[in-house]
């Protein structure tokens, strides 16, 4: 059909940070659906916990220390994570590279402690449903931890190549920061569910 020029967009920028960019919204979408997965798994745990009066089903209490150390590491990592976000917004290559290396290390550290967290649960997944559920919760979070750390490392390498000098890459760094917040945030309720909720009753 016939057309008439109405507006000219030649001066629009070619990238944007945060909610301006579609990738941010995509990340949010995946957080929503993964968050739903966490919520349902937690719901299933609570459902079983309220169903059986002697929850923990006479299993020994877990040793909370590895989990607590993971929690501390994750919470501390939020500080450099948000500094990194600021540098990404300024498109400052030097600090962003340092920040990405720091965040890769701060991703690996809880992963190493996590290795000791599974035995500290003091029960196996096939002992009873309580054991199954805490392994499932911990496993679900560990999957997220591993994929995000992998993603962070690849992006770190990318920032040291010539492909790093682009607005899009700095946007990717921003989205990576955003997703790490999600990984930290989802851990808190799971930590409470595994280590502290059973002690209440």
């Amino acid at each position: 059909m016939n057309q008439r020029p109405a507006i000219d967009l030649a001066d629009l920028p070619t990238f944007g940070h945060g909610p301006r960019s579609p990738t941010w919204w995509g990340t949010l979408g995946f957080m929503a659906l993964e968050g739903m997965g966490f919520a349902l798994a937690a719901g299933a745990y609570l459902y079983l916990a309220t169903l059986w009066p002697n929850w923990r089903l006479s299993a020994p209490a877990p040793n909370h220390w590895p989990g607590t150390i993971v929690t501390l590491l994750l919470v501390v990592s939020l500080v450099p994570n948000h500094m990194l976000n600021r540098y990404a917004k300024q498109c400052a290559m030097g600090p962003v590279r340092i920040g990405m290396v720091v965040m890769s290390l701060l991703g690996l550290a809880p992963l190493i402690v996590r290795w000791f967290e599974f035995p500290a649960l003091n029960i196996y997944w096939d002992t009873n449903a309580y054991g199954s559920m805490i392994w499932v919760l911990l496993g679900l979070h560990t999957t997220h931890l591993i994929t995000d750390v992998g993603d962070t490392i690849v992006l770190t390498v990318l920032m040291f190549t010539r492909h790093g000098y682009s607005g899009r890459r700095f946007g990717d760094v921003g989205d990576n920061v955003f997703y790490w917040d999600f990984v930290v945030l989802t851990w808190i309720p799971i930590y409470l569910l595994i280590y502290w909720v059973p002690r209440l009753g």
Binding site: L9, A10, L12, E34, W52, A129, V136, V154, S166
Partner: protein, 658 residues
């Protein structure tokens, strides 16, 4: 234009680095469309947006229209396969004590029928329609995250193949489409059949979720300038709400099937009451997904109806805002209802009454929608063509399905007819009436856009009447035989019960209904090859997909439209306002703000890539292997990581760099 022209223009000095702050390489600017004549513009864009030739090229395509076409054809083939399952069951049931099909095969047949129809036909086909239409309707050049979209397709086909190859090997699930424990659990479900169910579900839902996220972001961020929230077409609203329902409902079925495979494979006890688990937990989790699932299928269909009716009533939809609010309300309410599938499990009384009430509440927004549609027709000058006929078929069938639904929402009646053919009749009225009839109307309506040719109107009318009569002949009597007590999921029945005549009648109806699809398939093929050329806008409809040629070019719109009205083509009859200033040598499209759709960024859309296919193969192989050993997850991690890095690593195209 020779290629020399292309390079000389590519070397234009960059004219603008305004937005570049910090350590960013300046944009290597390319030629823009401003003031370019139509012929060169088409040449440039066709070159930039084309899908590369050859097999590898075809497998690398990220064009939403190409992917959607594959999706549509694949989903239609699965409909035919699921239909053949049904015909086989009906032949076995056409008389008492027939020995054609034994109990074991019959169990696989109804399970495969249900699984195929729900997971491989109904949901994928509505999503596929959305993949095709949503980017066109919002006036953009490709879906958001085109590679994720391609990945979704590959996951979907391979998941469907997995199920059907298992069926061919007599390894298909035989535990019903919802695979309740304990029947599907480690104790009563030996062999690999229930594992096939679990992994196939988890895997194919990955594709639904991927498409849902891509759809949401397309609608929120890629709308043409000026398409503020109040100017979004109703069909697009429907797909947006549906995609949100997918995002919040599908994880539930993935959790269910994952818990099931864990119980079966590594000995967890989540559903095992003997060790502190619970079998009803399975049903809660499953129906938390299962009830919204019905609306995932139904909401897009209402969006189709809301597109078809204004086009043929020759006026914009009556009560646009009311229709949008109803869609949103249905989306929310769909999560409040799951327990009504579990009345027979002896829930506490008060809980059951609450769920009865909320099941009935959803009738309100649905009533509003029906009222608005009738008002649109009443006030317009309806032109009766095949798409509208199917909309009438939808009204008629869906009302009957809704009535029996209200009956089932009352606990005493549900307990009476639970697991009888009354329920089978009810959900086919809802599913086929509420979704397949509008889909058929939509096929006639949008076929000209997809192929550039019209389907035969005369055959279309025959098809409609054959489908309506066949459907009702097959399914209406099921209510009766259900009230007589015939249970579902039985492979035969004794002659003394006197059910043979009515069952023979039902089977004849089923065959008639199946034949209507054969006629439809003929009309599709005939239309694609011989149909009369359609032109851009054969129905003189008002939304943006009709502003471009039929079929649309790879880049959808040579210039992005600027929207001033809900029915932009009716508001701007003389000349459509358009935007300029985009690059023509890179895949540029416009990112706009969420509420007002102010143009905000010139974003680069992803180029074709083979990696989504490779990633799907890596993920699929991992799932397949995981049926046999949990170590598959460990072995599969490396290939999956490699393909994902390949997917996201920049290749140096302009699309990657800015």
């Amino acid at each position: 234009m020779s290629s020399a022209d292309l390079t000389s223009e590519r070397d234009l000095p960059p004219e603008r680095e305004a937005s570049a702050r910090g350590d960013i390489a300046p944009e290597r600017d390319g030629p823009r469309d401003t003031g370019m004549d139509d012929a060169s513009l088409h040449r440039w864009l066709a070159r930039t947006w084309r899908t590369p030739p050859g097999i590898i090229g075809a497998l690398s395509s990220v064009d939403h229209k190409v992917i959607a076409r594959r999706y549509l054809i694949t989903a239609f083939l699965f409909l035919c396969l699921g239909g053949l399952n049904a015909v086989a069951m009906r032949i076995q049931l056409s008389g008492p004590q027939r020995g054609l099909i034994g109990p074991d095969l019959y169990n696989q047949l109804f399970t495969m029928h249900g699984v195929t129809m729900m997971f491989l036909f109904a949901v994928p086909i509505v999503q596929a329609t959305g993949i095709y239409l949503v980017p066109l309707m919002v006036g953009t050049r490709n879906i958001a995250f085109p590679r994720l979209n391609a990945f979704g397709y590959w996951v979907y086909v391979s998941g469907g193949l997995f199920a059907w190859v298992s069926f061919a090997l007599s390894m298909a699930p035989d535990v019903g489409w919802f695979a309740y424990v304990p029947l599907s659990g480690p104790e009563f479900g030996p062999g690999k059949r229930a594992d096939v169910w679990a992994q196939m579900i988890t895997y194919t839902e990955v594709s639904s979720l991927a498409v849902a996220v891509a759809t949401i972001v397309t609608v929120l961020k890629q709308r043409a300038p000026g398409m503020s929230l109040d100017k979004i077409p109703l069909y697009v609203w429907a797909l947006l709400v549906t995609s949100f329902v997918v995002v919040f409902a599908m994880p539930a079925v993935m959790i269910t099937s994952t818990f099931l495979i864990l119980d079966r494979l590594v000995g967890t006890h989540i559903f095992n009451p003997a060790e502190g688990g619970d079998a009803l937990l399975f049903q809660h989790l499953f129906w938390f997904f299962g009830h919204p699932e019905v609306y995932i299928i139904f909401l897009p269909a209402t969006g189709m109806v809301s597109s078809i009716i204004p086009a043929f009533a020759r006026r914009p939809a009556f009560g646009h805002l009311g229709l949008v609010l109803s869609l949103i309300a249905v989306g929310f309410l769909s999560f409040g209802l799951w327990v009504h599938h579990m009345f027979a499990t002896g829930l506490p009384k008060l809980g059951a009454s609450f769920f009865t009430a909320s099941s009935m509440l959803i009738a309100i927004p649905n009533g509003v929608q029906i009222f608005c549609w009738l008002a649109t027709l009443w006030d317009g000058r309806p032109v009766i063509r095949t798409p509208l006929l199917f909309v009438f078929g939808f009204f008629f069938t869906f009302v009957i399905g809704g009535l029996t639904g209200v009956m089932l929402a009352s606990v005493p009646l549900d307990l009476q007819v639970h697991d009888t053919y009354f329920v089978v009749a009810h959900f086919h009225y809802v599913l086929i009436g509420g979704s397949v009839f509008p889909l058929l109307g939509a096929a006639y309506f949008w076929f000209p856009k997809i192929t550039g040719r019209m389907m035969s109107e005369r055959l279309g009318r025959w098809h409609f009447w054959l489908a309506l009569v066949g459907f009702n002949a097959a399914f209406f009597p099921m209510h009766i035989v259900g009230l007589w007590g015939m249970p579902r999921r039985v492979y035969t029945y004794p002659a003394e019960l006197g059910w043979e005549n009515i069952n023979l009648f039902i089977s004849a109806g089923a065959v008639l209904f199946f034949l209507s699809f054969v006629l439809f398939a003929f009309n599709l093929v005939h239309g694609a090859l011989r149909g009369t050329p359609a032109g851009d806008n054969p129905w003189d409809a008002g939304t943006l997909e009709w502003a471009t040629s039929s079929p649309p070019p790879s880049y959808n719109f040579a210039r992005i439209p600027v929207v001033t009205n809900v029915e932009p083509l009716w508001a701007e009859r003389v000349a459509l306002p358009v935007a300029s200033g985009l690059r023509v040598d890179a895949r540029e499209l416009i990112i706009s703000t969420v509420a007002e759709a102010h143009p905000d960024i010139r974003e680069k859309s992803a180029t074709p890539s083979i990696w989504p296919l490779l990633a799907a193969i890596a993920v699929g192989a991992t799932f397949l292997y995981s049926i046999f050993t949990p170590w598959a997850i460990v072995w599969g991690a490396a290939p999956i990581a490699v393909t994902l890095v390949g997917w996201f690593w920049p290749k140096g195209d302009p699309e990657d760099e800015e």
